[in-house]
Structures are given as structure tokens and as C-alpha cells.
Symmetry: C2
Subunit: 288 residues, 2 copies
């Protein structure tokens, strides 16, 4: 049976990169103990020295043996592999969460886990274009939305414990169905990544050879291309586990770009003004 | 004959919005006097009260009569109209600059000005998604690149005075040919605007109806869409005076997006890794 109060829980975090390291650091003091699990000894040493975890180990079985909550903080396809590997190692009633950016595939795999585990999909809406335990920041989750995708089998107590964990790190829980979260993320996160990458590739193919380009890259380019600096392994996992929705979002974008492009080509000022003003107002409504 | 030293110059700024108001404020104290010219009395009053200008007027002829330097800080197509209107009002040897984001059309019009004027195209690489005199900020130009596009007729003394003005506001001058600047800007500035707009339009058409979308719009979307909040009148002028280069840039982008999209569709991991890693490195090389 899972513990009801986070402050009595041992939380084990698997993977101590930006996301896992930050989660561990934010949880310390809010639960009985935080155990960090990583592949490399150096990562564990760093996490211990910098107070990110109470205990650390490179041995998965050892690190989760007495866990009340386990959080997988690895790239999505690693999570999917780890779910089956970790199942026999977990104690009865253990809450098993993840931080993967796509949820349909993860939750489908969670549904196949043995009954003694309480699975709960998770996706915090934060991140940075840096990686590694050295970038861990306990404030990373503060005031961010943290999506939870419970399964039909997830107990109320387990879901409540998941909510408590999210609130303990300063984030706001939002329960969504996995497919709905993946559709939304395709447009609001994965599409921006693809556009940022295609923009950098365009500059690379056309203007980068001109030394003046480096002196005039302005704020617009910098911001629009920012997420092209995201971790490639993480993004490949995201794109390949949300392929269909990402391709739909790209196709919807192409239609919109084509339509704006036609307005510029036609040079019809009033139509341009109507379309661009509507878009500007929509942008301002989203980010007042 | 134009003055050689900026500190003896009267500089008249036509248009006191974000760009003109900020320029006036940054120039005050670096020249003999700054005269602000705007259409609305309220703008002049605000500029005087807040110390953005030494003098202000709504009368163009009056404001430029004794100017050593005149800077047109209006949208590009207004600049093009104003160039011919202002010509007979300017004293002998007056340096006439502008702050328009596209330069081919402006410089073509400058070439037709009467001989007693020294024209010099200008384009500072800065801006914000706000407008109006209330947003003026003397630090706006600091450490930014300021493109100068001299004409064959522009004298060395006039170009030197333009350089002095750019340095006085804390910016770095960069001399470019008008068409080269327009090509570069199409990819590095106008394309990002089109992408940001098409992204917002895509979200508007697909996910905006879902209330959860508003809770999960993450940093990637916010940054990639930021410039969609740019002033519409300014952007229409830019797009219509750089139409050909903008359409070329969009087309180059479509090719790159299609190629990335095909990689996702094929799901060929190693090819994805090669392409996305190369892009990530290019992004990091541009913004270390």
C-alpha cells in the first residue's frame, strides 16, 4: 500500500540530469529521504557533494528497494525500456512516475506493468537548453504546470501522492489524458522545436557564409531559434514517440505559412493587416 | 557643408515612437541639441516632460530648418514618402538618415534627392514588441549593431558623422550594401517574424480551443512566437519593401522543414541525430 503523506516517503529519482537532479534537489526536505540513481559514479558524487540527494547509488535495484515513490527522469524511450526492467525491483504499492515529454507510449507501457505497482505518467512544463547534473536547479519547477496522466488502474491514494509531490516542488498539477497531452504538446512544444531547427538550417544554407550575418543576428532570430539548442537525444525520443501528432502539426503549420506567404506575394495590404493583427492579438492574449 | 563634430550638431528626429524616442534620449547631451518632431502634441509634451528632447514641434519645416542631422524614425513606407517631402526643407549639407528595417527601396529613393543633401541609410539591430513614445529607452541601442548603407554620393564627412552618431548612442556601426542587408534581414529577421505568426495561427486553428493549452504553453512556444507581437504597421512596410527576399527566405525554409519532416516520418534515428546535432552546434556557434 502506498504511503499517504509525502513527508513519510522515500523518493528515488532515476537519472540525475537537468530534470532529475533539479527534482531531487527540490524534493529534499519535503520527504523522508531522496535517493539518486545514476549510471556514473561521478554523477552520484556530484549530487551528494552539492546536496541534491540524501543518498546515491549506481545500482538500480539497491536504489529502489525501499522506495515509496520512484521517478524515472530519463529520455522517453529509455523510460519505456526501464518500466519493465524496474517492475520486479519495486516494493508493493510503490508509486512509479516519469518525467517524459510524450505520454501515449509511456502510459501504454505502464498499463502492462505488474499489479503491485501504482503507475502515474508525469510531464513537467519546464526545461532548459542545458543538460547534466551540474545544471540542476531546485527552482526549475517553481510555478510551472506539471501534467499528470493517471491510468484507469491508478488508485486515488497514488494520484493524491503524485499531486503532493508536484506541489512540494512548487509546480501546479494538471490532469490530462495521454493522447490529449500529446496533441497539445505536438503544436505547443514539438512544432516550435522543428521550426527552430529548420530556421537554423535555413540560415546555415543561405546567410551563414556571410560574416556580416554574425554581427546582425537580431533578437527575433535568437528567440525563434532558441529551442534548436535542446538536447538531441531527448528530442529524438520525443519526436519518435509522438511522430503522428508532430507530422500533423507540421502539416497544419505549412498550411498557415503558405497562406501568410500568399498574402505577402499578393501584397494586399488590408488582408495582411487583418491577418497579422489577429495573430498579434492572439499572441498577446496568450502572453499578456 | 555638414558639421564634422557631432557635439556641434543639431539633430532632428522625425517620429518619436519606440525607435525615435529612444534615439533622441540617447543623443541628448552628445550633440548641441535634439529636436523631436511628431504629429501629435501629446507626444511632444511627453517627450519634453520626460527629457527625451531639448525642443519639440509638430511642424516638420520648423523642426528641420536648422538641422545638421535629420533622422527619419517612421515606418519604411512613410520614410520613402517623407524623403521627397522633406528635401526642400533641409539646409545645405544636412545629413539625412533613417532607421528603416529594409534598405533597397529607401536608398533608391535617397538617390533621387536634391544634391544639397547628404543621404545615409541606417538600420539599428534592436527593437521591442512595444510601441509609442512612452516605451522610449535611451539604453535601447547600447551594444547593438547599427547598419549603415551609404550611397555613392554620400561624402566621407557625412559618413563619419553618421558613424559618430551611432557610437554616441552606444551602438556598433556596420557598413553594408543595401541589397546585401536586405537579403540577410530576410532570413535573420523577417523570416522569424513569418514563422512566429504562422505558429500562432497554427495554435489558433488547432489547440487554442482546448483550455488546457493555456496552462501548458511552454517556454519553447513563448520564445518561438515572441516576434508575432511586433508592430503590424511596421512589419507590413518591411514585408512589402522586401517582398522578393522574404519570399525567397520562406521558400528556403519550407525546403528545410520538409527535409526534417521527412526524417521524422522515416524514423531513421541516425540520420535524425546527424541533422539535429549539426543544427544544435550551428545554433551554439551563433549564440555561444
Amino acid at each position: 500500500m502506498c504511503v499517504h503523506d509525502l513527508c513519510y516517503a522515500q523518493v528515488s529519482v532515476v537519472g540525475l540530469g537537468l530534470m532529475g537532479g533539479s527534482l531531487a534537489a527540490a524534493l529534499r526536505g519535503n520527504c523522508k529521504s531522496v535517493v539518486g540513481i545514476a549510471r556514473r559514479c561521478e554523477t552520484i558524487e556530484y549530487a551528494l557533494t552539492h546536496g541534491l540527494v540524501d543518498h546515491g547509488t549506481t545500482d538500480l535495484a539497491d536504489g529502489v528497494r525501499h522506495a515509496d515513490v520512484v521517478v524515472l527522469a530519463t529520455p522517453v524511450r529509455v523510460i519505456i525500456r526501464q518500466l519493465q526492467e524496474i517492475a520486479p525491483l519495486l516494493p508493493q504499492g510503490c508509486l512509479l512516475m516519469d518525467l517524459g515529454s510524450t505520454k501515449s507510449d509511456v502510459v501504454a507501457e505502464m498499463a502492462r506493468m505488474p499489479d503491485h505497482i501504482q503507475p502515474l505518467g508525469g510531464h513537467p512544463m519546464c526545461g532548459k537548453e542545458v543538460s547534466g547534473v551540474e545544471t540542476a536547479d531546485p527552482a526549475l519547477y517553481r510555478d510551472r504546470t506539471f501534467i499528470l496522466t493517471p491510468l484507469p488502474r491508478t488508485s486515488e491514494a497514488a494520484l493524491a501522492l503524485g499531486h503532493a509531490l508536484v506541489r512540494a516542488i512548487g509546480a501546479h498539477p494538471l490532469v490530462l489524458a495521454p493522447h490529449r497531452q500529446d496533441c497539445l504538446m505536438a503544436t505547443l512544444s514539438h512544432l516550435p522545436y522543428m521550426l527552430a531547427c529548420a530556421l537554423v538550417a535555413t540560415a546555415d544554407a543561405t546567410t551563414s557564409a556571410d560574416p556580416a550575418a554574425w554581427e546582425i543576428v537580431a533578437g527575433g532570430y535568437r528567440d525563434t531559434s532558441r529551442v534548436a539548442g535542446s538536447d538531441v537525444t531527448m528530442m529524438i525520443d520525443i519526436l519518435l514517440t509522438n511522430q503522428e501528432e508532430v507530422l500533423k502539426a507540421i502539416s497544419a503549420f505549412e498550411t498557415q505559412l503558405r497562406s501568410l506567404s500568399r498574402l505577402v506575394e499578393a501584397g494586399t495590404e488590408e488582408e495582411m493587416r487583418t491577418a497579422l493583427t489577429r495573430i498579434r492579438e492572439e499572441r498577446m492574449r496568450m502572453f499578456p
